[in-house]
């Protein structure tokens, strides 16, 4: 017994070092289960406060770019207004058959909550975005984050006033997407190298793909609203091991300078989930 104590006393520094290493590594590799824990909640609120301060200054430098973006988005939305469609002749009538305008609420699926991006990184292998809107303002885990130009990511952690989203530039990120002109479902992932490009894999070779084609989110996802731009095809690569293409996409969102985002809540998700649960039980 005495020898044991002597051993501990002699190697106390080494043991302490090893203990801290194991602690750090276990935190790192168990991150998925761990990130819900109190530590990250506290960290969010503390570092969030720094980010808010910094962001107040930083915003001024990109005001022009941001205005341009919001103006483009506004123009896009204005072009969809019903009042802007006029038939040349009174016998023609514009019919909206996809939704009822007067009782829209009961059919609403996606609700957009505006949020300010206060923290952002692109230089790691797993990049996160901090948003100034938390559980008190109706944010929950697994909601989509959309920017004025396109998809940004999805929420992975929420504290009372801040939330953290995993951006498209995260190695665990996967978004189901398809080519806008039709066909070809695939999964968007990031290889951790260049923050300007992501990869869309598993596109069958029967589909004709050209440079510059738009890739959008699919309607199969219960997180992302359909038709949101993920990116534009920058390079078409043939996957030699399978008969598919793997497309290099230029992200629609400029992750270096994005400032504003919308958190998208799927109101019908609970119903969908309980239905799926039932199917799995049977």
């Amino acid at each position: 017994m005495r020898n044991v104590f002597l051993f501990i006393a002699r190697f106390s520094n080494l043991l302490f070092f090893l203990f801290l290493q194991v602690l750090a590594l276990s935190m790192l590799f168990r991150y998925n289960k761990f990130h819900q824990a109190a530590y990250m909640n506290v960290a969010n609120e503390v570092t969030g406060r720094f980010y808010v301060r910094y962001n107040k200054i930083e915003t001024y430098f990109s005001l022009q770019k941001e205005n341009e973006r919001l103006r483009m988005q506004n123009a896009d939305l204005l072009n969809k207004l019903k009042a802007d469609f006029a038939a040349p002749d009174s016998s023609m009538q514009l019919v909206t058959d996809t939704f009822r305008v007067d009782s829209l609420e009961q059919y609403r699926k996606f609700l957009y909550l505006p949020a300010k991006i206060i923290g952002n990184a692109v230089d790691g292998q797993n990049n996160f975005i901090t948003l100034h809107r938390g559980s008190k303002q109706g944010v929950d885990v697994n909601m989509a984050v959309i920017g004025p130009e396109g998809v940004i990511g999805k929420i992975v952690n929420v504290s009372s006033n801040m939330s953290v989203a995993m951006s498209l530039l995260h190695r665990k990120n996967s978004v189901v997407a398809l080519l806008k002109k039709g066909g070809g479902f695939g999964e968007v992932t990031w290889d951790g190298k260049d923050p300007r490009f992501v990869t869309l894999s598993n596109i069958p070779r029967t589909i004709k793909v050209a440079k510059g084609d738009t890739v959008v989110t699919s309607s199969y996802s219960d997180i992302f609203p359909p038709g949101k731009v993920v990116g534009y095809v920058a390079e078409v690569r043939e996957d030699k091991s399978s008969s598919t293409y793997s497309l290099k996409l230029k992200t629609a969102t400029d992750f270096y300078s994005v400032q504003h985002a919308y958190i998208v809540k799927n109101i019908q998700k609970a119903e969908m989930d309980s239905l799926m649960q039932k199917v799995k039980k049977d």
């Binding site: 302490f16 797993n126 190298k193």
Partner: protein, 177 residues
């Protein structure tokens, strides 16, 4: 300014500088990530117990991890260099110098070549360990090697600039003070 106060200020300064200045630089190349924050550990006084140094390394790395949302990544690398540091100093410096000499590692207190070796080895260790853990997630050997060397080169450049900008008056430790 006492040693304690100076190091508390450095702690905050290095973290904030890393997050809000270096972290905001648009990436030049996929291999290059500018790291400077660990210079805090390199600049800690000689006279600090081994256990305290290791713990401080851990806490310092954890502070950065809170900002980058990677709990444990920088903490592990910082703990490693904080643990290795005393061995390296005792290798590079004659015993008497650490006992009577200056308060913290610098060019004047250690001499140019020993200090350069000290910085080079610890920077290289820090980056290798950090990139190694990223590599475990990804697995591309060329990427690993390239990133370690490019990041080390950039860090050494930054440290050189910092040393030239902030000339630290190497205080000679006396019994009176």
């Amino acid at each position: 300014m006492s040693n304690l106060v100076r190091n508390i200020i450095r702690f905050a300064f290095f973290i904030l500088f890393q997050v809000f200045v270096l972290g905001k630089i648009p990436p030049l190349h996929q291999f290059i990530v500018p790291y400077l924050y660990f210079l805090f550990i390199l600049w800690l006084p000689f006279k600090i117990t081994r256990g305290a140094l290791t713990l401080l390394g851990f806490l310092f790395g954890m502070a950065l991890d809170m900002f980058t949302k990677t709990p444990g990544l920088h903490a592990a690398a910082c703990t490693l260099i904080a643990y290795i540091r005393p061995f390296l100093i005792s290798l590079l410096m004659p015993k008497e110098a650490t006992e009577i000499g200056y308060s913290e590692p610098s060019i004047t207190s250690m001499g140019f070549v020993p200090y350069a070796v000290y910085v080079l080895v610890l920077t290289f260790l820090h980056h290798s360990y950090l990139v190694f853990m990223e590599w475990l997630h990804f697995g591309n050997f060329l990427y690993f090697i390239g990133k370690v060397f490019a990041t080390t080169a950039i860090s050494l450049l930054l440290i050189l600039i910092t040393e030239m900008l902030f000339v630290r008056k190497a205080k000679y430790r006396t019994n009176v003070a």
